[in-house]
């Protein structure tokens, strides 16, 4: 009975979650994305059999499929390590009520299985089992094969829960796991050590000896029990809310900035904001990825011959941080915006501090990515033009339109799959920053004068830099008009 009530409450919580009350457009876009991925999975599941036979004509497709399963488990574990949490806080309202602790723990563990991500893989596995495993082995084997996979996925689910409770969720661990996995793939590739062979042996044996299905079952039961007994002893308020109150770390800001008076103070504040809060922190972690963007595109001749594509990459490399962080430039401070408004400093300095920060990161991003010229010297020119365009044009767009965000941002939530505080304006503002440079460049490039296109982009950037003062005055004027609306919005938490 108690479980029924608990799950009913959970159901209400999901239905009334603020996600649904968000912008309809965003929900539709997200829905399309999810549908797209699910369809891809479905096609993969249906055609995996044919694809494998095409690539490995002499081998049994099921055995081949099995040989990838250990890698699948590895990738699944990494994804779970990054994305999965056991929301222990959600039982807080029940702890003081006459409900057995063990019931709550079973509920907590049980509901983590309800997560739809656990079942997304089966959109691949089920069609494959029906089409390929059943015909190559038997119907029973296919059924047990699926049962085994279910238990393996559940096992992963609880294993990660336990590991994260014990060792915390340091990103370093995920990176190490990733490196190990990459090393294994490389060793397989160069026939030094074959995890694929092991994987094939393990998972094919279950098809031959169906009774082996008890092994994943036992493993699953064991890890469930370990989690349960661990949680039962840990379910006290101080433990439950352990991860919410961390000791202050002594990132005392960069004392270098102190000499710049109020601007320096504001920049220091911003740096602390970035390093001490989950959500901005995840954007900081992503910034190096923007820099590596070139490695996806530059090695491929198809992209290298499309100059307009390279403009897109160039804008992204030096401006990725500016666009992703800058989009919320003011919303980041939504939780103390009232404080800023009532304190005695000049908002010109406030914007100057933000400007300096964005410029600094943009310049560093450009300098760090200069070595891309080893792919082709033209990349240097393209990226330099894009860099100037970012610095003179896009930065002003960012500052100007950051004021359109009037939603409170909860800094303590992770940015992964987090759409709290995201509105349509966030997407729309990215468009001109990415498309405009391409639109400006393409006509010149089509008529065979890409150099002039680059000069145009660079010149627009330089003009923007030269007009710094009047543009800033405009931005600040707009701020004084917009501040009431923003403050009003930020108070709606």
């Amino acid at each position: 009975m108690i479980y029924k009530w608990l799950y009913q409450n959970k159901w209400k919580e999901s239905l009334r979650s603020s996600i649904w009350q968000k912008n309809l457009a965003i929900n539709i876009i997200m829905g399309i994305f999810i549908l797209y991925f699910l369809l891809n999975f479905l096609f993969l599941g249906i055609f995996a059999d044919k694809i494998l036979m095409e690539i490995f004509p002499d081998e049994n497709p099921v055995n081949k499929f099995n040989s990838f399963l250990l890698y699948f488990i590895g990738i699944d574990l990494i994804i779970r390590f990054i994305g999965q949490t056991l929301p222990t806080l959600s039982i807080q309202p029940y702890l003081h009520l006459p409900v057995k602790r063990s019931n709550l723990m079973h509920y907590l563990l049980g509901r983590s299985l309800v997560n739809p991500l656990n079942y997304a893989y089966f959109i691949i596995f089920i069609p494959f089992a029906l089409i390929s495993v059943a015909s190559n082995y038997s119907g029973l084997a296919a059924f047990l094969w699926l049962v085994m996979l279910f238990f393996i996925v559940f096992f992963d689910n609880y294993l990660i829960t336990y590991v994260k409770r014990q060792f915390g969720s340091k990103p370093l661990i995920a990176v190490c796991l990733g490196i190990i996995l990459a090393a294994l793939i490389l060793m397989d590739r160069y026939h030094i050590f074959s995890l694929k062979d092991i994987s094939e042996k393990i998972f094919t044996s279950i098809l031959i000896h169906p009774l082996l299905v008890v092994i994943p079952l036992i493993a699953f039961a064991a890890i469930y029990f370990i989690n349960f007994s661990f949680l039962k002893n840990a379910a006290y308020l101080e433990e439950v809310s352990k991860n919410t109150s961390k000791k202050a770390v002594s990132t005392s800001g960069i004392s270098f900035f102190n000499r710049f008076g109020v601007i320096g103070e504001l920049m220091n504040l911003e740096i602390k904001l970035m390093t001490r809060n989950k959500r901005p922190k995840s954007i900081i972690y992503m910034t190096p990825l923007f820099l590596l963007y070139g490695f996806f595109f530059y090695p491929q001749p198809t992209y290298m011959n499309h100059d307009s594509m390279l403009i897109f990459v160039g804008i992204f490399i030096s401006g990725g941080f500016m666009m992703s962080y800058g989009n919320y430039l003011i919303s980041w401070e939504s939780c103390y915006f009232d404080a800023l408004l009532t304190k005695s400093f000049d908002f010109q300095k406030y914007f100057q501090a933000k400007y300096t920060l964005l410029v600094t990161v943009t310049i560093i991003s450009f300098l760090v990515t200069i070595p891309y010229l080893f792919f082709d010297i033209k990349l240097l020119y393209i990226n330099f033009a894009c860099f100037l365009f970012n610095l003179g044009f896009n930065i002003n767009i960012v500052l100007y339109f950051a004021m359109n965000n009037k939603k409170y941002l909860d800094l303590s939530k992770s940015a992964k799959f987090n759409y709290q505080g995201v509105g349509m304006s966030n997407f729309i503002v990215i468009l001109p920053m990415m498309l405009l440079p391409i639109l400006l460049f393409v006509p010149f490039s089509l008529f065979g004068f890409p150099q002039i296109g680059l000069i145009v982009l660079g010149s627009i950037g330089l003009i923007g830099i030269a007009l710094y003062k009047p543009l800033h005055a405009m931005i600040i004027r707009r701020f004084y008009v917009k501040k009431y609306e923003m403050a009003e919005g930020f108070r709606q938490r």
């Binding site: 109150s245 202050a248 103070e265 001490r276 009232d338 408004l341 304190k343």
Partner: protein, 231 residues
Amino acid sequence: MIKVNNLTKIYNGTCVLNISNLSVQKGESFGLVGNNGAGKTTFFRLILDLIRANSGEITSKDINVAGNEGWKHYTGSYLDEAFLIEFLTAEEYFNFIGKLHNMSKGDIAEFLNLHADLFNDEILGQKKYIRDFSKGNQKKIGIIAAMMGNPEVLILDEPFTNLDPSSQIRLKKILRELKAKYDVTMLISSHDLMHVTEVCERIVVLEKGLVVNDLVTNENTLKQLENYFAV
């Protein structure tokens, strides 16, 4: 010091504040009481130019607060947690606010030292962020930070809620001192009639956005207020 002229604030068609005429003299300690929804916080936000009035104006030293920022230099305020920067430690927050008021490190240390009593060794040197402090200690941090930079006007919204009894008594002492020594103009709202009558020499009762009572505090005021609010 602060004058209000025909001020109205309307939310969704309901008038939540309508004050035709009100002025607070320099050095006056002004108490604001009223039930939830009476418009106390709205009034304070309007004084701090955090929201826009639908009509009328508020002047501070005869200059309209809306659109001007001169008042920020001599006005200290603490309304709610939105005035705290939750991911700083208490020291860092005081330093930040102090620097904005051009206080030197020494000034800040000296100032904080004055309030060591109120802090009760629970605020400074704690190595934790403001978001991890208890509600009462967060409030102390906010109130003390509002007093930095020798403000001439101090605006506090329900400063006594969440404070422990000793801290309430200490805070009252601090407020009385501020008035006696520096002639600070204070605007304080409270649900606690006793505290507010102890600290304020004038008390205004708001009800549904209207000023329904404007009293000079004397020994009968508390009784009067209690009678007014009795149901």
